[in-house]
Amino acid sequence: MKGGAPANATPERNEFEELRNSISALREELETRFDLGSRVPRNAASPPPSGAAARDRVSELEGLGLDPIELFERARRWMPQRWGAARSAEVDEFGLDPVHLERVRPLLDFLFERWWRVQVAGAENLESADGERLLFVSNRSGILPYDGLMIAHAVERHHPGRRPRFLVADWLATLPFLQPGLARIGGIRACTENAERLLLRGEAVVAFPEGRKGALKLYRDRYRLQRFGRGGFVSLAVRSRAKVIPVAVVGAEEAHPMLLRLDLATRLLGVPFPVTPTFPHLGPLGLVPLPARWRIRFGEPVHFDRVESQRADDPLYVSRAREQIRGKIQSLLDAEVYARGSVWR
């Protein structure tokens, strides 16, 4: 057994030598065929290589300061080996894929820092113990769930490792193509069972009680809160003893200002069909959100931990608490909209 290792080493080294020789032979072959080895400008004395057309194209690119091999290498590294290879083999129980999230994080950072230049106010209200159940309640704007994504991003920047999951309305959470993508970066279909399960796991959750009505309101109704559902979020907070943090998002209404809704198209397609200044007449370009400046303001938390759990089923209590939180968010919104000078700066 002892003699095994050195005896094996020699053929291995031989193989390695062989491999190295064949690689260098291949490189020489490539260099002579395509004349790529000469990074210095070719002189007239060099023999004319074969493949004149290809060589001309190569030298053209080189003239522009671009190295074709380098370009190809960069493209190859950028492209995943196969579609889907940039995903992990494990997801959490709601489908969040940590590898995929890291992959799209530069894009989210770009949207947060450069595109919408998000300012965060009231971050002191985010102070919380680890594993404390947090329920963020926010105004909803725009069809695509950018606001949930940005709130999750803002919270994570103040509490690394604590990224809230955002709830996505039914009709959006079941759309083909969109749904798998949203689930991978932390979106979850909005229903009480899901939110409760998440809170009990000690996760933070972002809820939008306005739901569909908030997402589909027209530009002229901007920053006016719609009805807050049936107050499911209050019952939820009472039952799971979660801390409710009201959130006001300003700027998201201008990202995709909805001028009108085409009800006929909505009925035909089964999904809302908005008309914004850029969509649908600019085609896919119309899906690019406008770069309004965003402000996300976290209000003072509302505690439900001393409330008896029977109150969760008391409709009068639930509606009072619901309206109270709705009022808080509306006043935060009014203050923020009043305070901002321009939509863009």
């Binding site: 489908g95 899901n194 399960r197």
Partner: protein
């Protein structure tokens, strides 16, 4: 325990009998079926019964009394949906009705019925985890699932009428493993797996060995009611196929449902959505009740169950 088993040829029936006989060769078991599989000859008592027959209930009651059975395991269901919808309905629903009547008449107190998590149905508005309290909505086009939902209803009625009886229904998630054959394993056996374009649901599996363990626990424990069974963890369909090294064939669902319609009515009596909707929407179950109350601890996570299935099929290809 003096056990009576229906469905000797079914996967669960055959494997549970093997496991019980292995633990104790003298274990009293009576088999109720049309015929006795050769592998079980002289190892268990056998009484030929046609569950669909007109006087089946009286005959079963007679056998149960004669054998002094105290526990019944009902597994007479088709693993893969049967082509003959009428016959499948007769056997699965009417057969179960006959069996339940006989059990009610003899005063047996323990009954375990094999159902499936498919009874919840794939629906866009399912929560991410379905608990046992969730409504059994099934799938309107899948006759096998419709029949199972009907059987579950019969068992609930039975339990309400016989409060002393312990009626357990087991609802396993998609069961995979080296030897089981059902519509999921058949679909994933293909070289190129058809998937629905734009959909990538989270899937959940139970390993076949864990299923047998759960049935043995359910026979043993003094408990009643429905139990979801699943391995822990979920994985998106695309990840599963990647782990298996399989290519997929993404097809827009309206196109697939139209094209495959004629092809599929001839073969399985159900339109394609009866199966493909299970690869389109969520139907993941919360198996924590079985873990808490039955003491069920699956050896395989969803991913390990899937890998066990994939690896066994790869080995089979070489043997």
């Amino acid at each position: 325990m003096r056990l009576a088993v229906t469905g000797l040829g079914s996967f669960v029936g055959a494997r549970v009998i093997e496991a019980l006989l292995e633990a104790d060769p003298e274990q009293p078991i009576v088999g109720l079926d049309l015929e006795l599989p050769a592998s079980l000859e002289d190892r268990i008592a056998f009484r030929p019964v046609d569950l669909t027959g007109p006087a089946a209930d009286a005959r079963i009651a007679e056998i149960l009394r004669e054998q002094r059975s105290d526990t019944v395991l009902h597994t007479a269901f088709f693993g893969t949906p049967h082509r003959d919808v009428e016959y499948a309905h007769e056997l699965e629903v009417v057969g179960s009705l006959h069996l339940l009547n006989a059990i009610g008449a003899t005063g047996i107190e323990k009954l375990v019925v094999m159902s499936s998590a498919e009874v919840y149905g794939p629906h866009p508005d399912n929560p991410n985890f379905l608990t046992e309290q969730h409504a059994l909505r099934g799938h309107p086009d899948a006759h096998s699932v419709r029949d199972r939902v009907e059987v579950e209803r019969l068992v609930r009625l039975f339990a309400a009428r016989h409060p002393r009886a312990r009626a357990v229904t087991l609802r396993p998630a998609a069961v995979v493993g080296p030897s089981i054959r059902n519509r999921f394993t058949r679909h994933f056996d293909a070289k190129r797996v058809t998937t629905l374009l734009g959909y990538d649901p989270l899937m959940q599996f139970l390993h076949e060995d864990d299923l047998i363990d759960a049935v043995l626990l359910a026979l043993d424990r003094d408990l009643g009611g429905p139990f979801n069974l699943s391995g822990s963890g979920v994985l998106p369909l695309s990840t599963l196929l990647r782990l298996a090294g399989k290519r997929n064939w993404p097809c827009p669902h309206p196109l697939l449902y139209t094209l495959r319609y004629l092809d599929s009515v001839g073969r399985s009596a159900d339109p394609p959505q009866a199966f493909y909707d299970y690869l389109r929407f969520l139907w993941v179950v919360d198996g924590s009740r079985a873990v808490r109350e039955l003491g069920f601890s699956p050896l395989y996570t969803s991913k390990e169950a899937w890998m066990s299935f994939v690896v066994s099929r790869k080995l089979e290809a070489y043997v």
